[in-house]
Symmetry: C2
Subunit: 504 residues, 2 copies
């Protein structure tokens, strides 16, 4: 046994002996479960995982880890596919919170819930359904992931509540030093206000635990959207690639006039194609889809080069006005078709444009065949049609030059645009994997050169992406390092996660 393995075995023994409600997983079962299923570079997977059943067990484990100098890698459910899945850094022991899956509270009039990290989108949805609770979810592409984990990594959905981290209201956290805190009004014992107000006296700490390694979140309050009286969805099919700029401008203008509280999303033809077909259905060999293949895809599947989805919620009368303005704006775009779907409270729920989580989100990873996978590049751009079009064109060129298809979605927010590019590839093509690995690094550097930063990034590129935030001799990174030292002096929680010093 190596010294490290020896230490790990002792640590796990101690955890098994002292912590009541815990499962420990090692060996092949562990290595297979805890790894990035979509990794560009195959890795061995984790050597050990601990599955606590309660916050007090988490606290005990973190305290023991401090004694042993063990490093833990908390995951809620480890399903952040496209961003590293359950991949952990070297030597870390997975702290898998999936067994902590209680829905502790759902409040209807005030629209919030209090969750443990193991609750999946599907479980929360089924709970709301079973109890006929008129609150709507905002869901990411893959519904088996954790609601808490997704919010903590700034996942997004399609609804006015689609910026999931922005809906966080009150946390319970086991800090790296083993202390257990409740943030905001949660620190006022017995208060019913914990999930009702985001701030209390003094600095708000919730955001400190987002995309962070300062502690383990064991409970999260989250605001949910009350069922609206009605809704309307406008699907806009856009024929020409170059119309993206005008479309973004039109949506920005509608948002600035207060007509679209939602973040409308504009995606290209591949979003649908990758869900319902494989690339081998359209083209031979491994070159990117060419113009004629793209034409075939679009004709066969009936999708535009770009497809905008605009959701509006509220009073039926208000919706009609917003719809009128939206259609007026969209119809000024060249060569586009609008389809309108309406829903009113009382109509069948399955027709409502609410977030319905699905385990099918994995499907599009099969675009390149049964060993297909994807890795996502999520970054932000200004709320400017010209800038978005220019950057989209550049990105497409770089992907094509690497032999990749272009799969891209733009979320139009109040003051910026979030762009998520899914890089779809075949995991067995090791040459392509190496090319993507190099491409990803260069995309991050190119973005930074133009003043743009990453929104969310797989573990493998985290340090490289963080490195770009270099103002004042990396003063912000040093500040974060001081915060890390303060709350996790022995570095037991995901020690390499926030660092800008460790490179790929």
């Amino acid at each position: 046994m190596t010294e490290a393995a020896d230490l790990r075995a002792h640590f796990l023994d101690e955890v098994g002996r002292r912590v009541g409600d815990v499962e420990i997983v090692t060996g092949a079962a562990c290595a297979t479960r805890y790894r990035d299923p979509f990794a560009l570079v195959p890795s061995a997977g984790a050597e050990a995982a601990i599955r606590p059943g309660s916050a007090s067990s988490v606290q005990a484990i973190v305290q023991i880890a401090n004694t042993f100098g063990a490093a833990l890698w908390p995951i809620s459910r480890g399903e952040n596919l496209g961003y590293g899945g359950a991949a952990v850094s070297d030597k870390c022991i997975v702290l898998d919170l999936m067994r902590m899956n209680r829905i502790l509270e759902v409040n209807v009039p005030d629209g919030f819930c209090l969750l443990e990290p193991g609750v999946s989108f599907v479980e929360l949805f089924e709970h709301l359904e079973a109890h006929d609770i008129p609150l709507w979810l905002s869901v990411p592409g893959y519904g088996l992931g954790s609601v808490v984990g997704n919010a903590l990594e700034r996942g997004v959905g399609n609804s006015p509540y689609g910026d999931h981290a922005a809906q966080i209201c009150g946390l319970e956290v086991v800090l790296g030093n083993g202390d257990l805190i409740r943030t905001g009004m949660g620190a006022l014992s017995g208060s019913g206000m914990w999930q009702r107000q985001k701030t209390a006296l003094g600095p708000r700490l919730d955001e400190l635990f987002v995309q962070s390694n300062l502690g383990v979140v064991t409970k999260m309050g989250l605001w949910l959207m009350p069922e609206p009286e009605a809704s309307v969805v406008v699907d806009v099919e856009i024929e020409e690639r170059e119309t993206l700029g005008a479309c973004i401008e039109a949506l920005a203008s509608l948002k600035r006039r207060g007509l679209l509280p939602d973040a409308p999303v504009v995606s290209n033809y591949l979003t649908k194609a990758a869900l319902v077909s494989r690339r081998s259905d359209w083209i031979d060999g491994s070159t990117p889809l060419d113009v004629s293949a793209i034409d075939r895809v679009r004709k066969k599947l009936g999708v535009g080069w770009w497809n905008a989805k605009i959701r509006i919620y509220g009073l039926p009368t208000v919706l009609e006005i917003a719809l009128h303005s939206t259609l007026e704006a969209m119809r000024q775009l060249p060569a586009c078709t609008c389809t309108v779907s309406k829903w009113r409270r009382g109509a069948p729920k399955h027709l409502a444009p609410r977030g319905v989580p699905s385990g099918e989100g994995l499907v599009n990873s099969r675009w390149c065949g049964s060993t297909g996978a994807h890795i996502d590049f999520a970054w932000t751009l200004p709320l400017s049609g010209a800038e978005v079009l220019r950057n989209s064109t550049e990105m497409e060129k770089k992907l094509f030059a690497t032999g990749l298809d272009y799969h891209s979605s733009f979320y139009v927010r109040d003051r910026h645009v979030l762009n998520v590019v899914q890089i779809l590839f075949d995991q067995q093509d090791s040459g392509m994997c190496a090319a993507i690995d190099a491409l990803y690094l260069s995309l991050i550097a190119d973005a930074a050169r133009d003043g743009f930063g990453m929104h969310r990034v797989p573990l493998r590129y985290r340090a490289h992406a963080a490195e770009m935030f270099g103002f004042g001799g990396h003063a912000l990174a040093q500040c974060r390092e001081r915060l890390k030292q303060a709350l996790d002096p022995n570095g037991v929680i995901s020690p390499t996660k926030a660092s800008s010093t460790e490179k790929v």
Copy 2:
């Protein structure tokens, strides 16, 4: 010279010698300027103040303070009247940022500005006016205060942007240890996204510097409201005290239906009375206004017992619908009168319900005469008519029992209600001042017993209010103390501000 005075003199000498752009104030001019003009217990005022002209001067001063072990008390302009003004803790040297008053950027399409802390609401307003910039401010009662300072202390205004701290997007901060950081996209050198997205990769730190003593904010990005196409204001005069509960419920319902993005405010008769008259106009002696005096006030000034102000902004057609629903809801309240004021873009701006800062906010402090003052009690309640009414009645009873009038405003937010009670008093009545001092402490404890916490609190009561957040053996306070140690190890910035251990 005492040892402390000696140290201070040496520190000031060193600052004067080494920092280029700085003014140093001591003696009577300092003591008079830097104190709480509305203090319940008279204090001597500060013994020294430093007024730097730039962020690099701030940084140099903080670095020198670290060397000397000097304690600084940063104020933006020190005009947070009702919450302690420019009062500083014992031995602290005021770091007055008023000279740093540049408006560094105003962006119209994306609705934001970048400010130094010395910019007042009046100055920002005049800048927007002078350049005919179609962005509206949200302003507090007193317009000579700092925009930055107000947001940092969670000040509020009447507009959809009225939660000022929530509009913060990107900070430049000199940490207690002397490092200068830029948060969010500001750390990506040359990025234009600093004020366009609140989050970048990793934890968001902006909220860490709100109601905080971890650093000195030297630049702040703030989102501003684009001028709407139209607006409508509904003033609701409510005759009966007990109707407050039904009014809050009705407003909550309108908000839940998405019709009122603004936080409507419900204030009692004294809000207007204190602005336009003095208590001696209505009653002799020092007993609280009685029923007949309140009747006289209301008849003469034409105000309700409660007065709700509801502002709606947007497209004229949408406004009509929101107005219709609002009037329908309000007219179901017993004994109330609605007055509607409309504005459309192009109509005279002075008729628009935008935030116009005023230096007149001080006037209501004169309610108790020329030596009148006020101290504010700002706390949060659930979004429930019954709870709000019950707590309002209790509060009024406690104030009356102390011989005070009841001046109260309720801001109806998405999931809770913010209640600001202005305690108006005569500073020369030392018996009353002592009674208010005791009352304030008991009000904080009573609120905590019922599960409610303070929103903002004068320095004098900060430790007592913080003490209420005791979950897990004051684990949150200990966490904040660790953060303080990390970013300000020598305790040079407002050392007693966040502590829950130092008592009044």
